[in-house]
Amino acid sequence: MKKFINDPDAVVDEMVDGFLYAHGDRIRRLAEARTLVRADAPVKGKVGIVTGGGSGHKPSFIGYIGKGMLDAVAVGEIFTSPPPGAVYEAIKATDGGKGVLLLLGNYAGDVMNFDMAAELARGDGIEVEQSIATDDVGSGFKDDKSKRRGVVGEFLIWKMTGAMAERGESLSEVKRIADKVNQNTRTMGVAISPCTVPAAGKPTFTLADDEMEVGVGHHGEPGLRREKLKPVDEIVDMLCAEVISDLPFKAGDEVVTLINGLGATPQLELYIANRRLFKNVTDKGIRVYRALVGEFFTALEMAGFSITLCRLDDELKELLDAEAYTPYFTQAGR
């Protein structure tokens, strides 16, 4: 394991310190738990948007705390759901009187810990709702899509849900947007090299020099199958076929496309993939409203990428384009 770390068990605490040295003007840490919140939380008259999960996904989750996106993040150990207490403190710190929406990925640990936190907060009389992301086509379950993992689609959920909350809408309206984005979003990824959880010290999987894992999860979970590595155009064609047919996306639809690098894959390669993604989508008569390319939700130093399509209507377009001010996604209106 070749990493720039000190104590493998202290990586998350040390990372949080370093993060606050960089972004402490807009984000603060709660005293009660390892929970980071917008400096100005709670924002009165606004639904609080709380998320959280395991660490190692930078810029997710904490890189998206700020106006127009997230109010608070409960920070777990590497790839490990945060405990209920961290989520509970997040809820209390961000309730501006209109309730709090919990956004999470569909992982047993997150579901249970967020559930416990929601129970605690409801006990305090805070209105709490949840929306669980399930965008990963690579996790299978064609027959019961609610069982799928949530992956980088969560970024789109945060963006649009955060914009909805910023407008001062009600908790149920804000939750409606989170569910709507999730229902219209599909992702699938591939990996060509693994990542290593520092405290475990060993790569999560091994691949031969000419192999790729198709449908990989963003913690290195095995995907749908292993295949020989192919030219990226063929990989993108394959991912597009699975993603497009799943919703299905149809001619006349308008979408935001997203290519997410999983960590070690150079942006150069992501843009080469974007070139082919654009062709695939437009060839099907689907209109690309916006194309996002970059690292939005990584898996430590895994080499790989995913493609995401999210179907938009006028309501979602407006929310996607709304202002946002966070360390890793700033958009001053368009």
């Binding site: 150990e77 640990g109 379950f141 405290a199 060993k202 913690h219």
Partner: protein, 221 residues
């Protein structure tokens, strides 16, 4: 540490809060020893962190133990449960944490427990795991270890056996239960997405449940 907290051996009729504390120390040691092994199991089925989460969780438990000397069984178990749900999270925090919290409720105020109490506590623990995780027996989770252990200890009580014999049976059943997960298809949790490819791999959560039950029962085996 090991020696000091070994507790009683041989046939016993009562277990003291001191014995319980010793049992928790043994759990902490056993989890730490198996950290790498549990990660390996999880790498095949999930994200490879199970040993790390368990180890961090039980280190947090161990840090609490000195302050629990002399406390009653209920207090000790609830403190363990709180440490489990407060520190790390993961899937194990809520599952093991809820189990200890609920078991602790059944032993509230007791400085000594008998087999009746122990059976009650096992039942409460299993119920908590089911309530929290909504898994069923056969889903390839820690429930496949816990459920047969609870059934075995219930039977032992009905047959009027000693605590030692009852724990022996529970541990044996837990081991079989753990091994039974090898042939199962995972139905819940991260591994469920692998479907049939989970066959042939022992479930990490089922394994750590066995490690914990065995460590607790060790002096009585």
């Amino acid at each position: 540490m090991g020696e000091m907290h070994m507790g009683n051996t041989g046939e016993v009729a009562k277990i003291t809060s001191k014995d319980v504390l010793a049992a928790i120390y043994r759990m902490c040691d056993a989890v730490e020893e198996n950290k790498g092994y549990l990660c390996e199991l999880d790498a095949a089925l999930g994200d490879g962190d199970h040993g790390v989460s368990m180890s961090k969780s039980f280190r947090a438990v161990r840090d609490k133990l000195p302050s629990l000397e002399g406390k009653d069984v209920g207090t000790i178990l609830r403190a363990v449960g709180m440490a489990l749900i407060s520190t790390v999270g993961g899937a194990m925090g809520p599952l093991f944490g809820s189990a200890f919290l609920k078991a602790g409720e059944r032993a509230a105020g007791k400085q000594e427990i008998g087999l009746d109490d122990i059976v009650d506590m096992f039942i409460a623990g299993e119920e908590a795991i089911v309530a929290r995780g909504k898994a069923k027996v056969g889903d390839k989770t820690l429930l496949d270890t816990v459920h047969p252990a609870v059934e075995a200890i219930k039977e032992a009580k009905e047959e009027g056996l000693s605590i030692s014999e009852a724990l022996r049976r529970a541990t044996g059943a837990a081991e079989l239960g753990m091994k039974s997960t090898i042939d199962m298809i995972a139905r819940v949790g991260r591994a469920s997405r692998l479907g049939e490819r989970t066959i042939g791999h022992q479930d990490p959560g089922a394994t750590s449940a066995y490690i914990i039950i065995k460590a607790a029962s060790m002096p009585y085996l």
